[in-house]
C-alpha cells in the first residue's frame, strides 16, 4: 500500500499522567532530530494519544530510523483518506487489499469520531462483504493473513495493514541523566543502550592509565559512542587521568585487593564527577558473578563508597544475551578489538572474590587518595561525540 501518514503510538508512557505532555514533546523532538535531514519531507501533528507524520515525499529507510527511536511502542504505515463516505472507503479498501499477499483477511475498524453515522461493526461488515464479493479472499477472524485496520477520526479515515513494533521505553531524556562508566569492553555499551532505550540521557566517564593502557582504547571508545549516537546524537565523554591513582594502589595494596580498591576509587571519582555535572545516578555494565569484582560480596564492598544510586542494567544478563544485543547495536565488533581497558599494572594472580571493607579501609588509610582523586577530577578531559 502506498502510505502517506505514519501513526505513532506511545505505549508505556501513555500511563504517565501529568508528565505525559512533557514525554510527548520529548518524543516529538527526538523524532524531529532523527529525521532532521528530511525536515521538509513531512509534517508532524501531536495529539494526546498519537503522533502523526504526514509525508509530503518519500523518506528513505524511514522504518529503520523509526525503529531506533526510544519511547515509541509501535507505528503504522497508513493511508489517510479525507473523504470518509462509506462507499469511498469500501472502494479504496477493495483496491488496496488486492495489492496485499494472503488468502484470508479480517477488517478491524475503530470509530474514534463518534459522530460518524455507522458503528464499527457495521463498517467492518460493509467493507468485508464488498471484498468477499469481488475477490477470492476468505474471512478469518482469528488468524487472518491480511489484517486491514481502519481508524475513523474527525479529520479523516486512516487505513493500514502493518503495525511495526518500536523500540519501546521512554523518549530520550525523559527519565533524567546518568553518568555511565565506560571501559571499552562488550558490556558497558550494551548497558548504555538499555538505559538510553529507557529514556535516560547518558554522559560517560572513562579511566585512562597511560602508558598502562593504550591510546588505542580512546579511538575504540569514540567508535563505540559513535554507534550509540543513533540513540543519543550528542554524547559527552569525560576522560579521567587515572595513572597516579593506579600506581599508588599498586604501592599500597595487599595482594588480591588491587582490583577492589581500584573499583572503589573509580566509584568515588564517578560520584565526584556526577556531583559536578548535577547528575544524580551512576551506571555501569556490571553483571553479577561475571568476574571477581562482580560477586555480590565484592559489589557490596565496592558500592560502600557511594550513596548514589547505581543502575546496572545488565545485572542479571548472561554473557550470550549481552553479546547478542551488542551485535544488534553494532558495538560488538568494536569491543572485541584487542585494546581493552585492562590494568596490566597489577600482577593479578588471585583477585579476592570476597573482599572485606575493613581491609580496604586499612589499605586506603596508607595514602592520601582524596587529594589524588580531586586532582584527577580537575584534570578531566571532555570529548564530545556527535552523530
Amino acid at each position: 500500500m502506498e502510505f502517506n501518514t505514519i501513526i505513532i503510538r506511545f505505549g508505556e508512557m501513555s500511563t504517565k499522567g501529568k508528565n505525559k505532555k512533557d514525554f510527548i514533546n520529548r518524543l516529538a523532538s527526538s523524532i524531529n532530530n532523527h529525521l532532521k535531514d528530511y525536515e521538509n519531507s513531512y509534517e508532524m501533528r501531536k495529539r494526546h494519544d498519537h503522533i502523526y507524520l504526514d509525508l509530503k515525499e518519500e523518506i528513505p529507510n524511514l522504518v529503520d530510523i523509526l525503529k531506533e527511536i526510544s519511547g515509541m511502542y509501535s507505528f503504522s504505515l497508513a493511508k489517510k483518506i479525507e473523504d470518509c463516505d462509506l462507499e469511498n472507503l469500501k472502494d479504496i479498501a477493495l483496491e488496496e487489499i488486492q495489492k496485499e499477499e494472503g488468502k484470508t483477511f479480517k477488517v478491524k475498524t475503530r470509530r474514534i469520531d463518534k459522530s460518524y453515522p455507522y458503528v464499527s461493526d457495521e463498517i467492518n461488515r460493509e467493507i468485508a462483504s464488498k471484498i468477499l464479493k469481488n475477490t477470492s479472499l476468505k474471512v478469518d477472524v482469528h488468524n487472518p493473513e491480511i489484517l486491514l485496520s481502519i481508524e475513523i477520526r474527525d479529520d479523516g479515515a486512516y487505513m493500514f495493514f502493518k503495525t511495526i513494533k518500536g523500540m519501546g521505553g521512554y523518549p530520550k531524556g525523559a527519565i533524567g541523566r546518568s553518568l555511565m562508566m565506560l571501559s571499552g569492553g562488550i558490556d558497558s555499551p550494551v548497558a548504555s543502550y538499555l538505559l538510553m532505550r529507557r529514556g535516560v540521557e547518558l554522559s560517560f566517564i572513562h579511566f585512562a592509565s597511560p602508558p598502562y593502557t593504550s591510546v588505542a582504547v580512546l579511538y575504540k571508545l569514540e567508535d563505540i559512542l559513535k554507534s550509540l549516537n543513533v540513540y543519543q546524537n550528542k554524547i559527552n565523554l569525560y576522560i579521567v587521568p587515572f595513572t597516579k591513582i593506579q600506581e599508588e594502589i599498586y604501592n599500597h595494596s595487599f595482594e588480591g585487593y588491587e582490583v577492589t580498591i581500584m573499583r572503589r576509587m573509580m566509584y568515588r571519582l564517578t560520584e565526584k564527577l556526577a556531583k559536578k555535572l548535577h547528575i544524580f545516578a551512576l551506571s555501569n555494565g556490571e553483571s553479577i558473578g561475571q568476574v571477581a569484582s562482580q560477586t555480590l560480596e565484592s559489589l557490596n564492598t565496592i558500592n560502600a563508597v557511594t550513596n548514589y544510586p547505581i543502575i546496572r542494567p545488565l545485572a542479571t544478563y548472561d554473557k550470550t544475551e549481552i553479546i547478542s544485543i551488542a551485535k544488534k547495536i553494532n558495538t560488538y565488533e568494536i569491543s572485541i578489538r584487542p585494546y581493552e581497558d585492562c590494568c596490566t599494572i597489577f600482577p593479578i594472580k588471585k583477585p579476592k572474590t570476597m573482599p572485606k571493607i575493613s581491609e580496604c579501609l586499612k589499605i586506603e588509610e596508607k595514602f592520601d587518595y582524596e587529594a589524588l582523586l580531586n586532582e584527577a577530577i580537575e584534570n578531566v578531559e571532555l570529548k564530545i561525540i556527535k552523530g
Binding site: P211, T344, F346
Partner: protein, 380 residues
C-alpha cells in the same frame, strides 16, 4: 617525533614523491594500451626492469621481474605459485621457523593442500645447522624458501652455505627462494644465489603498494590472479607506471649510496648497542654470527614491553613490539622465541630499526627516555 620503526615502514624520499606526482600527471596511460602513449610507457617499464636486474647484478637474459603489490604478494606468488604448478615433481618444501608471516602462513596453507613442509630451527647464533639441512633434503624436495635478513632481530642467515649444499645435492630440481624485503639496500647479498627473490619498495623510502618477485625465466608458476595477462600472464592487473618508475628510481638511488648508508647506520647501531647494554632490565639479542645494523632487538626482563612501548609512544618515540596491552591476546615474537627459547623474552621483545635519517641525538633521547620509563613504571 623520533621514528625508530624503519623496518616497519619508512618515510618516502622527496625525489621519489616528486617523480610520482609528475608521473601521475604526465604518464597516466595504461602501459598495455596499444597506442603510442601506452607503448612508450611499456617500453620504459621494460627498461626499468632491466635497470633493477642490473643493480642486483642479475642477468636480464636469465631473470624476469614481475611487479606486484608488495612483498606479501611476491612471497605468495613465489611459494604458492611454484608449489602448485610443480607438485607433480615432488611435495616436500623447506622453510625456517623465523620467516615473515607472509611466508609461514603460505606454507601452512600448502600443508592443507597435502604438501610436506619442514620448518628449520635457527640456532642461537642466527644460523641454520648445515648437517641437519643436508639430512632433510630428499628426492621430492622442490622448494627451499629462506629469508636473508630477519625482519625482527636483524640476524643474517647463512644462505651462501645453504646454496652450496643445494648445489652439491643430487636433486637438481630444487628451487631456492629468498624474501629480501628487509635485505635490499640494507645488507650486502649475492642475489644470484637465488632462483626467486622478493623485494619491496617502502622499506627503502619508496612508495607503498609496489614490490616485485624476481625469478629465473625457466621457472614456471601458477598465477594467483587472472585477467588481462600482464606480467607474463602471472600477475594480471593494470601496471602502474608511476609506482613502477618510483620503485626503479628508489632501488637505484638507495643502492648507489649503499656503502655510505651502511657505514652511517652501523655507527648508530654500535652506539645504541653499547648504551642498551648498560641499562639494567634489558637483554639485547646480539649473539648472531652476522647482524644487519638496521635492526636491533632487545627484551625488557622486568617490565612489560607493551607498556614500555606505549610510554615511549606517548613521548612520540616510535618503536615496535609484538604484544599489545591486552590480557586476552598474549602475542609472542615467534622469532625471538625460536632464537632464545625463552617465553618471557619473546613476549617482551622490542625492535628498533634505523634509517639513514636517524641521528645520534635521537638515539640519546630514546635511550634516556627508555631509562626513565623503566624506572618509573610499576608492575612486572
Amino acid at each position: 617525533m623520533i621514528y625508530l620503526d624503519n623496518a616497519g615502514s619508512t618515510i618516502v624520499d622527496e625525489e621519489v614523491l616528486k617523480l610520482f606526482i609528475e608521473d601521475n600527471t604526465n604518464n597516466f596511460a595504461n602501459p598495455s594500451s596499444l597506442n603510442g602513449f601506452g607503448m612508450k610507457e611499456n617500453y620504459d617499464i621494460v627498461n626499468y626492469k632491466r635497470d633493477i636486474l642490473n643493480i642486483l647484478k642479475l642477468n636480464p637474459s636469465t631473470y624476469d621481474v614481475i611487479f606486484t603489490s608488495g612483498a606479501t604478494e611476491s612471497n605468495n606468488l613465489a611459494i604458492l605459485g611454484y608449489a602448485r604448478k610443480n607438485k607433480n615433481k615432488g611435495k616436500h618444501l623447506i622453510t625456517s621457523k623465523i620467516e615473515h608471516p607472509s611466508v609461514l602462513n603460505v606454507f601452512k596453507e600448502l600443508e592443507k593442500e597435502g604438501f610436506d613442509v619442514t620448518y628449520l630451527d635457527i640456532k642461537e647464533d642466527g644460523t641454520i645447522d648445515l648437517d641437519y639441512f643436508k639430512s632433510i633434503l630428499r628426492a621430492e624436495t622442490i622448494l627451499v624458501s629462506l629469508m636473508y635478513v630477519n625482519n625482527e632481530c636483524g640476524c643474517v642467515l647463512n644462505l651462501e652455505e645453504i646454496k652450496d649444499i643445494i648445489n652439491k645435492s643430487n636433486n637438481k630440481k630444487i628451487v631456492f627462494h629468498s624474501d629480501l624485503a628487509q635485505t635490499l639496500g640494507k645488507e650486502k647479498v649475492n642475489c644470484s644465489l637465488f632462483d626467486m627473490l622478493t623485494i619491496s619498495s617502502y622499506k627503502i623510502h619508496g612508495i607503498k603498494g609496489i614490490g616485485a618477485l624476481i625469478k629465473k625465466r625457466n621457472i614456471e608458476l601458477e598465477p594467483l590472479v587472472y585477467g588481462g595477462g600482464q606480467e607474463f600472464n602471472l600477475r594480471s592487473g593494470t601496471l602502474s607506471y608511476p609506482l613502477i618508475h618510483s620503485f626503479a628510481f628508489i632501488v637505484k638511488k638507495y643502492t648507489k649510496d649503499f656503502e655510505k648508508n651502511y657505514a652511517y647506520v652501523q655507527s648508530l647501531y654500535y652506539f645504541t648497542f653499547d648504551e642498551l647494554n648498560k641499562i639494567n632490565g634489558i637483554k639485547v639479542h646480539d649473539k648472531f654470527k652476522r647482524h644487519c645494523p638496521f635492526i636491533i632487538n632487545f627484551s625488557t626482563t622486568s617490565k612489560e614491553s607493551s607498556i614500555v612501548v606505549e610510554a615511549l609512544s606517548n613521548k612520540e618515540i616510535y618503536v615496535s613490539t609484538k604484544s599489545s596491552c591486552s590480557s586476552k591476546l598474549k602475542v609472542i615474537s615467534h622469532v625471538i622465541y625460536e632464537l632464545t627459547k625463552n617465553e618471557n623474552e619473546a613476549t617482551n621483545s622490542i625492535r628498533i630499526s634505523f634509517s639513514k635519517y636517524n641521528t645520534i641525538d635521537e638515539i640519546s633521547v630514546f635511550i634516556n627516555s627508555l631509562k626513565e620509563i623503566l624506572n618509573n613504571i610499576k608492575g612486572r
